[in-house]
């Protein structure tokens, strides 16, 4: 009998989950994290902590996870296979467990040439699927990739990511099915701007039996300005912002674009929430002044369900 994470229990009980994301600071100053933590406390079920996002150096994900945990917020540790081989990944996973970090999202990560150290040696010893399977094996069998037994089997709630807006849907669904087969229990998606197109993907995921085995949590981002929309479209791999979103932002004066972005976001949360297979929402705008708490409140997602710490499976 392993204790479940807050996020796991909320999803398991059929509540609509709310997660969001923070990017660790560049440097040792934790002010931004304290600010975010106080804004989010009680307003979200769990908070993802990026792992050197876009291949840019940031403070380690597990350190910020621990700091959030100490602030009363349940963390979701993102782990990419870009920078660590199987030895380092498994070691950090065991370390995270010791710190009581139990939600893990396994991903491959953006390529180093897109980041702030383009000269870095890439690792990618494992891909996301192999890493998911390894985490599951440690949890379920108490064995490392090499088959060696570990002492004290940690409990993890295993997540993965998916991009619903790729061209070859069939190819990507095949891969997503493998992620679920390997052990992924929840999927947080790339930001959704086009809810109709997301709906098509969701139906496809349902037809392939993904939604019955895995909680789907679509990502969203409140766009603050036209400039931000353009930056994201041009610089972030796999992100497409449709024209009708741009048109809505362009339809208001510049000083009202932030508000319009929030309204778009709230509309999207409602549209996504109406889809039966959507089990929560992942608000991705990282950093302070991201309006996350405001969006959660205005989307009618408060109060968050309170789960007692003694909850067990």
């Amino acid at each position: 009998m392993k204790s479940q994470t807050n996020l796991q229990t909320i999803l398991g009980r059929g509540h609509f989950a709310v997660t969001c994301e923070v990017t660790p600071p560049l440097g040792a100053n934790l002010d931004s994290i304290s600010l975010i933590a106080s804004e989010l406390l009680g307003n979200v079920d769990a908070v993802n902590v990026n792992d050197n996002p876009s291949a840019n150096v940031r403070m380690s994900s597990w350190a910020i996870c621990k700091i959030l945990l100490d602030s009363g917020i349940e963390p979701v540790m993102q782990m990419t296979t870009r920078d660590r081989n199987r030895i380092a990944l498994q070691s950090d996973l065991l370390g995270a467990s010791a710190l009581d970090i139990k939600n893990v999202v396994c991903m491959t990560g953006d390529h180093p040439v897109k980041g702030d150290h383009p000269q870095a040696k890439k690792v990618f010893d494992l891909d996301s699927i192999q890493w998911i399977e390894a985490v599951k094996r440690i949890r379920d069998e108490g064995r490392l990739i090499n088959g060696n037994k570990v002492e004290g089997i940690p409990g993890f709630f295993i997540g993965c990511v998916a991009n619903p807006f790729v061209e070859s849907q069939e190819l990507h669904i095949i891969k997503l099915k493998k992620k679920v087969r390997a052990g992924a229990e929840f999927i947080q998606t790339q930001p959704v701007f086009d809810t109709k197109r997301f709906g098509i993907w969701l139906n496809m995921a349902k037809d392939h039996g993904i939604t019955e085995k895995c909680y789907i949590i679509p990502g969203i981002i409140a766009i603050k300005s036209i400039g931000m929309a353009q930056y994201m479209s041009n610089n972030l791999p796999g992100i497409i912002i449709p024209d009708f979103v741009i048109d809505r932002l362009n339809g208001v004066p510049k000083d009202k674009q932030r508000e319009e972005g929030i309204k778009i976001c709230i509309d999207q949360i409602k549209e996504l929430g109406d889809m039966k297979e959507v089990k929560g929402i992942h608000i991705m705008a990282p950093g302070p002044k991201a309006n996350t708490a405001e969006i959660i409140e205005r989307a009618g997602l408060l109060p968050r369900p309170q789960i007692s710490k003694q909850s067990v499976e």
């Binding site: 870009r82 199987r86 491959t108 953006d110 390529h111 040439v113 897109k114 890439k122 990618f124 010893d125 494992l126 891909d127 996301s128 699927i129 192999q130 399977e133 390894a134 990739i145 990511v161 998916a162 991009n163 790729v166 061209e167 070859s168 069939e170 190819l171 990507h172 095949i174 891969k175 099915k177 493998k178 087969r181 390997a182 790339q190 791999p237 796999g238």
Partner: protein, 224 residues
């Protein structure tokens, strides 16, 4: 083939600075085929270095030679006759990096300089363009991937399918590089082998690659 690229002339000039007598050694293997280190390129580089030396008031005497293959001690040792007749301050090898290493191994008193950067194993994809196809991982599995190598041709070396970063069939690192997973998918579909994509590919044994240390192939049947 092994594809090489001539080092920038400034780097070469810096490398040969202080040497007055130089031998430029080409190779008739891969680097001749990819137009970087054959007889013709040896001659062009020799002229360029002579001219640069004269221009800077530091004339340098350059001889040219092109060996059958520099990755073969039999051919490399043939330089011995030349070295006995004439003293060179340094040899610039225009072979892939195996060449200068073989020369260094064969002649412990000769300074060897690499004239090329060895860039990859691959071949021409169109006139004037070469691309990488293999990274010598030591355990070829391309039959599972429609005859294409994701270890080399996927920027992240993914074995279980594409990442979410490709756009218009191109890789997230560079919009002129094909997403090999899109190519693998299309080909497997055409071959009626899409079920191969559903296979969970287990972590690769990198000990068979350079990760396991410098490799050796031993063929007892050929040993003397």
């Amino acid at each position: 083939m092994i594809v090489g690229e001539l080092k920038p002339i400034d780097e070469l000039l810096k490398m040969i600075d202080g040497y007055n007598t130089i031998l430029i050694a080409g190779c008739r293997g891969c680097v001749t085929v990819c137009n970087t280190g054959g007889e013709k390129e040896v001659s062009i580089l020799a002229s360029a270095l002579r001219m640069a030396g004269r221009k800077e008031g530091k004339p340098v005497m350059i001889d040219e030679i092109t060996l059958e293959r520099q990755c073969d001690h039999y051919f490399v040792s043939s330089l011995r006759d030349l070295f006995e007749k004439k003293t060179y301050d340094a040899v610039v090898s225009l072979a892939c990096s195996i060449g200068p290493q073989y020369i260094a191994e064969e002649f412990d008193n000769i300074i060897v300089l690499p004239g090329l950067n060895t860039v990859f194993m691959g071949g021409p994809v169109e006139q004037g363009i070469w691309a990488e196809y293999c990274s010598a991982c030591g355990e070829c599995q391309i039959h599972n991937f429609g005859g294409m190598c994701p270890v080399t041709r996927c920027a992240k070396g993914l074995l279980n399918g594409p990442c979410g970063g490709s756009f218009n069939g191109k890789c997230e690192i560079d919009n002129t590089t094909d997403c090999v997973w899109e190519l693998i998918y299309k080909r497997l579909k055409k071959l009626g082998q899409l079920d191969l994509l559903s296979e969970l590919v287990r972590p690769k044994d990198w000990s068979k690659s350079l990760s396991g240390g410098p490799r050796k192939m031993i063929r007892e049947d050929l040993m003397l």
